[in-house]
């Protein structure tokens, strides 16, 4: 594995483009937690021609629905959810200026096309290690759609959040590159 890169969220254009497929990344700064229901709300708001509850320019969106925080803790277990379920909404949010996404699993070709067009990388966190990932999340603050519970739109303050770039802004795919040497059928 290549040496770990330290990057800060939100991303500017240069940071977004500097991340290459296969890079191991430690992310610090503020990321935006949103999954199925929040994506649906955001895209429906856009369709109605209304203003979004937050400015998405530069945002790094993390697909997560955390477990509830115990008293005194910022958050419960908080690993990534399957990104593919967001694919129907993602191109619209990329148009709104998001500059990075964190989740797990494959993306549809239309999402990769939008990523290439707007210079957006897609990162994966290891799915199912939510207790470990929670250690890098220092603060969790709901920004909108509180009624959605674990699906609310929220800001997360992170320090050294571990992720790996799986599809970069040029469309290079590390799932493919990583699996090919071990594929024997």
């Amino acid at each position: 594995m290549s040496a770990q890169k330290h990057v800060t969220a939100p991303f500017d254009d240069a940071t977004a483009r500097s991340l290459r497929a296969g890079d191991s990344v430690l992310l610090s700064g503020t990321i935006i937690a949103a999954r199925d229901a929040a994506h649906k709300e955001l895209v429906e708001t856009l369709r109605r021609g209304e203003k979004l509850p937050i400015d998405l320019r530069g945002a790094v969106v993390y697909y997560v629905g955390p477990a509830p925080a115990k008293p005194g803790q910022p958050i419960g277990s908080a690993g990534p959810t399957t990104s593919g379920r967001m694919d129907a909404y993602t191109p619209a949010l990329i148009e709104q200026g998001i500059k990075g996404m964190i989740g797990k699993g494959y993306r549809k070709p239309e999402v990769v096309e939008a990523m290439k067009k707007h210079g957006v990388p897609y990162l994966a966190a290891v799915g199912g290690v939510g207790a470990l990932i929670a250690r890098s999340i220092k603060k969790y603050e709901v920004l909108a759609y509180e009624e959605l519970g674990p699906e609310a739109l929220a800001a997360m303050k992170v320090e050294n959040f571990p992720a790996i770039v799986v599809i970069d802004a040029d469309g290079n795919d590390y799932y493919e590159q990583g699996q090919t040497p071990y594929r024997k059928i």
Partner: protein
């Protein structure tokens, strides 16, 4: 007749909910330790290391292994000489899930209705209950919470007898390849062969919830489990789908008698957070 108060069932289920979600079963943990020794991919080994470290944190801090604490699937083997006193059996199980998921700070991931409103029930009920009546005066409860990343990749094919063994292998391989990184590999693959449509699916689910050290008692099917595992581990998917040889820890197969014209095959995929816990009352 042996009497079991419904409140004991509720308490047992509540305890199982927390234990299953926060403590990775020993058999699965040992499987990962072994995989760590043989996985050739450095990224794959790094992921396996994270899985083991995560399991330690979850156990010590009583945090869920994965935030998707799933639909609570409860297998209940009810002895025919048991009488449940003081309340309805299913309600006792749901109440246990309600308590365990609320008091244990587990995520509530159930919507009351699937298509129109999709409103969260707020307490992770109802559980999915698979009950059967068995000989004896005991009540065995096995809770296997199951997240959607892996559950969504389940597959049922109504094969015909001529499809045979090759058809079964292809079905399993197709399901695993389609699941890829989405189902948080290393997976545990449950395969149900035979029965009819719903029996094949239930067999696959039971196979998924079986220990990874267990083998099908029929040596032909035990050999098939090995063969399917070797096949799945040639896909290259590897831990977290980042490449490697540990795509699955185990393939478990369950079979049932079937119709002369049928060969149903169901594949239920479990992720590395292969949670299961058991209590006997």
């Amino acid at each position: 007749m042996r009497e079991i108060p419904s409140e004991s069932i509720t308490k047992a289920v509540a305890e199982l909910a927390v234990r299953a979600n926060c403590v990775l079963p020993e058999d699965v943990r040992d499987g990962f330790k072994k995989a760590l020794r043989i996985e050739p991919s450095p990224v794959g080994r790094d992921v396996l290391g994270q899985i083991l470290q995560n399991a330690d944190i979850a156990r010590l801090e009583s945090m869920p292994i994965c935030q998707d604490t799933g639909l609570a699937v409860v297998f209940a083997d009810i002895g025919q000489d048991v009488r449940i006193a003081g309340g309805d059996f299913e309600e006792a199980v749901h109440e246990g899930i309600r308590r365990g998921y609320t008091d244990g700070w587990l995520r509530k991931s159930v919507v009351a209705e699937p298509l129109f409103e999709r409103k969260n029930t707020g307490d992770n009920t109802p559980a999915v209950i698979h009950a059967r009546i068995v000989p004896g005066d005991r009540l065995r409860l096995r809770l296997a919470p199951k997240g959607a990343g892996s559950e969504n990749k389940g597959l049922l094919r109504m094969l015909v007898p001529a499809d045979g063994l090759e058809g079964v292998k292809k079905t399993v391989l197709d399901a695993v390849i389609a699941a890829g990184p989405n189902s948080c590999p290393p997976m545990i693959v449950g395969v149900g062969i035979g029965g009819n449509m719903e029996v094949a699916c239930l067999c696959a689910k039971r196979a998924c919830a079986r220990d990874v050290l267990s083998k099908n008692p029929d040596p032909r099917y035990a050999a098939l489990e090995e063969e399917l595992l070797a096949l799945v581990n040639k896909t290259g998917i590897g831990p977290a789908g980042l490449g490697g040889e540990t795509t699955a820890l185990k393939v478990n197969v369950e079979w049932r008698p079937t119709h002369i014209a049928s060969l149903p095959v169901a594949v239920n995929i479990n992720c590395h957070a292969a949670r299961h816990a058991e209590a006997i009352l």
